[in-house]
Symmetry: none
Subunit: 314 residues, 2 copies
Amino acid sequence: MVSRNEAAEFLRGADDILILCHQYPDGDTLGSATALCRGLQKLGKRAMIKCSDPIVPKYDYLFGGVEKQEFTPKAIVAVDIADTQLIGEPNQSLYGEKIDLCIDHHPSNMGYAKRSCVDPKAAATCEIIFDVLNLLNVEIDRQIADCLYTGITTDTGCFKYINVTPRTYRIAADLVEKGADGNRINREMFDTKSRARIGMERRVMETIRYYYDNRVAVIKITLEMIRSTGATEGDIEGLASIPRAIEGVLVGVSLREKPDGTCKVSLRARPPINASDICAAFGGGGHAGAAGCTFDTTMDQAEKQMLEEIRKHI
Amino acid sequence: MVSRNEAAEFLRGADDILILCHQYPDGDTLGSATALCRGLQKLGKRAMIKCSDPIVPKYDYLFGGVEKQEFTPKAIVAVDIADTQLIGEPNQSLYGEKIDLCIDHHPSNMGYAKRSCVDPKAAATCEIIFDVLNLLNVEIDRQIADCLYTGITTDTGCFKYINVTPRTYRIAADLVEKGADGNRINREMFDTKSRARIGMERRVMETIRYYYDNRVAVIKITLEMIRSTGATEGDIEGLASIPRAIEGVLVGVSLREKPDGTCKVSLRARPPINASDICAAFGGGGHAGAAGCTFDTTMDQAEKQMLEEIRKHI
Ligand SMILES: [Mn+2]
Ligand SMILES: [Mn+2]
């Protein structure tokens, strides 16, 4: 484990830096990568970003301040990636074993990098990037502020999740002072829904089932729903938080059918239930409030196993 | 207009203080009143709160730190009240002309009090109360922190509205440090939906129709839906904003069937469309973003007339 100082020190000495995002990229991995990339470029270094998955258009603005540069990387940095598995192909095969520095906030971080700068107390990897950029004496300009604000607001559900700390608010204050347009970003991230998203919400709400005195709610996301609504990954993101939002529900389970025949489970829990503990029983992980795991079975079988495990915790 | 310092000075010299909230009380007026009341009681003063309307149970926790005291008031303070009209009866008649101090953040404040401490830059009246309590050297304890945090988060839509400033985040940081349970409060205020609400959302989303190149979306709320889900007025509140949240939609129309055979229309518009102008054609009104009108016809006939009027504006 390295400190923020050591991470900054490594970056200060590095050049031709490739920054990797995790698959199914979210606001935090993309905000971290774009803020860091622009910051390094401002220091006169060459830097670029790679992600194994396509990036949905709503995140386009993050790349506004990033210069497109092509080079053979001499240093590889992973941001917001807990495990090399999450790099996704082709980048996992290409770079998975060569990560020089990982900057992350997942408590489940596997320590796969040569240097791991991991702080589970940070609500978002963007909080750590904010510190590292300051240590590198990079001026936080409006573009960087927008990127970092995006990661913080998306990973905290607009300052709503349990991971928010006084520091989260103080960094947000600094970023807004540096020009981050929090209002526009939050509207874009949280208030605008595509037609496909509306269709998915409607279909998903039809599948809600309650268990254990209504303390557990389960939803299903099938391939057919995704096909018939034309939903993209961006449209599916966040559906998993629907069941936990229901009054009295302590554990929300989202089951998602995958094209390869597996079933991906996203768990959302309220204290005192720990979602990560439950998913750990199936080789998964995450945070206390949100965690995930994968089953090589049908959705119905995955649901049965999850419910049995949840029963022990509730 | 008096400064925060002068407001604190007045309160320091006062005793037997009655604090008034506005009618239809929200998190800011109640959070301001309860934080101020507890703060004054901690200084050894007698203080009590009055509101013309009943307070819904979800705000009960705000009163946990307030001692019930009865006395004939010698000083009257209004919090978050822009106009004496908004005090509501009976308190408006009893106290409307005797307000010694008003602490508020509405730009429209009418200056009805003997001393008006109004700061339209504050996102919530609770921001001003935070400063006044600090000036009075009241220690912000966990209960006061919860009250002030509640007003700030409810008046900013959980840090989402345009009124949020760096100072808003910094005060939130301080309050969380003093023990405010932001996560629980935000979940309670924003994230918790009743099963009836979930049922209504699902049913309403099934009714969405798009018109005029998907720039207009219409939803319907029928008596049957309300009956079959068991929805209360609280569960129906806010459904009207669903259609406008859809990507590309400029005008969202919500048609609601009423027991007396009329049809209530709620319109939500994005610039440059003015919802109030459209509703004015049918004797209704409101703001540019949100307006309403009523039809003495079936929902289908109301929809037809609305669409014809909207066509002229789009
Ligand atoms: Mn993250
Ligand atoms: Mn207010």
